[in-house]
């Protein structure tokens, strides 16, 4: 335990103790902010490359590195030096503050994601609920930003984001419920530890399908990218953003993609478990990138669905399947099969 500095003279030793502490280094380097930002930047390049391959193009090439892998840095530098256009009569404080809040909201849940047995910043007792609570704030932020833009396309996009949350959020929580029942804990570390013998994708396959579809809707990826539908709404809720504001929103969106992919890995794909010849965080990141690939591919494959279709799917299909899976899980646990399978 370190005490707060009482006098100004204590301040420098106190700051030194904070900066050199294990937790602080974890927060800054790995599995904290720098690692998350780097993987996020990699994901933007990776998505453009995959979509290009599917559409028989080459994709980013000239920014340097193998296959133009330095493209995200070039994009970032370009966007930072561009002028930030604020629409006439827009709500300036909110317009500037919400993109920052989006990045904070997307980065905070990484504090509870376990990248390995000891590679977790905070092993919260209620880690799963914490992640869900944080991502449930996103449509709120998006709606406020859309309102602050004072323009009709962002506003329609913001309202759609809200409708989308109504459709996907409840199936998502209920599909995660069966995982919590199997693991007997809300802590993400305990959930991964419970999968040492058998990954939860096998006993809870229906739940995995529901959760994955909900994640696609949560991330506003095709076929659920209604809030940012290009042909109808220009660019949806970020139509009016430019320069650094746009960069922050883009960063938050891809950070959330990394977050949700890692959540799928934690809940269903056994987290850090894998053969011992690679370290645990490497297995975790490999699995997460595979999940991210499957989140990216539908963008080049499927067409967009309508709002009413999304809500009908959410409430009459996904919710029913998730509830059925909860009852199956109860059967599995009461029949003693989980004990036989060694879970």
């Amino acid at each position: 335990m370190v005490n707060l500095p009482a006098t100004p003279a204590d301040l420098i030793p106190f700051l030194f103790a904070v900066i050199t502490s294990h937790t602080f280094i974890q927060i800054i380097l790995f599995p904290g902010f720098i690692h998350v930002t780097l993987v996020t930047a990699f994901l933007t390049w990776y998505e453009r490359k995959i979509i290009a391959r599917i559409q028989l193009r080459i994709g980013p090439l000239y920014a340097g590195g193998p296959g133009g892998i330095l493209q995200p840095i070039a994009d970032g530098v370009k966007l930072i030096f561009k002028e930030v256009m604020i629409p006439y009569k827009a709500d300036k404080p909110l317009f500037l503050a919400i993109p920052l809040a989006l990045v904070v909201m997307a980065a905070l849940p990484f504090a509870v994601i376990p990248f390995g047995q000891n590679w977790v910043i905070a092993n919260l007792d209620v880690g799963l609920v914490f992640v869900f609570a944080m991502i449930s704030l996103f449509p709120l932020m998006i709606l406020i930003f859309a309102w602050a833009s004072n323009s009709k396309y962002p506003f329609l996009g913001g309202l759609r984001s809200l409708f989308q949350q109504v459709a996907y959020e409840i199936p998502m929580w209920i599909s995660a419920l069966s995982i919590v029942m199997l693991a007997g804990s809300l802590s993400l570390v305990d959930i991964v530890n419970a999968q040492a013998r058998i990954w939860f994708i096998i006993p809870a396959f229906l739940s995995f399908i529901v959760f994955f579809i909900s994640v696609m809707a949560e991330l506003e990826r095709l076929p659920f990218d209604l809030p940012t539908a290009e042909p109808e709404l220009v660019a949806g809720w970020f139509t009016e953003s430019s320069g650094a504001i746009f960069m922050l929103q883009f960063l938050a969106l891809y950070m959330k993609m990394y977050l949700m992919s890692s959540l799928v890995t934690v809940l269903f794909l056994g987290g850090w478990w894998g053969p011992a010849f690679l370290p645990q965080p490497v297995w975790f990141i490999i699995k997460t990138l595979i999940v991210a690939t499957f989140i990216i591919i539908p963008r080049a494959v499927f067409a967009r669905i309508r709002v009413d279709m999304l809500i009908r799917i959410g409430w009459t299909r996904l919710l029913i399947v998730a509830l059925v899976n909860v009852f199956l899980t109860v059967l599995l646990i009461t029949s003693g099969l989980t004990a036989i399978l060694g879970m």
Partner: protein, 170 residues
């Protein structure tokens, strides 16, 4: 590494954030700002739950109150057009503010009196410690099963009522 933060400091900061945000929620000229201040106030209350060793309640407070209730309030505000929303604001006139302050003061005096009279005689609260979430479920299911069932019935009735209200006659 753990930093020893005095509990009083945490309490004062949380109370200040919650109260100032609550006052702003009532006084905001723009209704949107009022809703955002209300959300911040709810997050402050979630902070109190964490402070009192109830992290599960804190997370549900954020998910339900900030993630759903504030969203509903914002949604309602945005359905009302901007010109109209200015007329909807009615400031307290003349004596109303003073009456409110007097009532609040009276309530504070009453609470302080009760605390001063009964406080020393109350049994000490059991130490909460770091209880697992499952203990909450055990208490609810083992000690209060009937209120739990009644609550479930109430929520089902509310859902059915919403369905009936939302059904469009063809």
């Amino acid at each position: 590494m753990e930093i020893a933060i005095p509990p009083d400091l945490v309490f004062v900061i949380l109370a200040a954030v919650t109260l100032i945000a609550a006052v702003l929620a009532l006084q905001a000229k723009e209704l949107i700002y009022g809703a955002i201040a209300l959300g911040i106030s709810f997050i402050g209350i979630a902070g109190f739950f964490v402070f009192l060793d109830a992290p599960y309640l804190a997370m549900l407070q954020i998910a339900v109150y900030v993630g759903a209730v504030v969203v509903l309030i914002l949604f309602t505000i945005m359905l009302v057009r901007r010109e109209q929303s200015d007329e909807l604001l009615d400031r307290p006139e003349g004596g109303q503010g003073a009456v409110g302050l007097w009532l609040a003061g009276l309530l504070a005096v009453a609470i302080a009196g009760v605390a001063a009279l009964a406080g020393p005689n109350l049994p000490a609260a059991p130490p909460a410690g770091n209880l697992p979430v499952s203990s909450l479920g055990l208490v609810l299911a083992a000690e209060y099963p009937i209120p739990l069932v009644i609550l479930a019935l109430l929520i089902s009735a509310a859902l059915l009522g919403a369905l009936v209200l939302a059904k469009v006659e063809k």
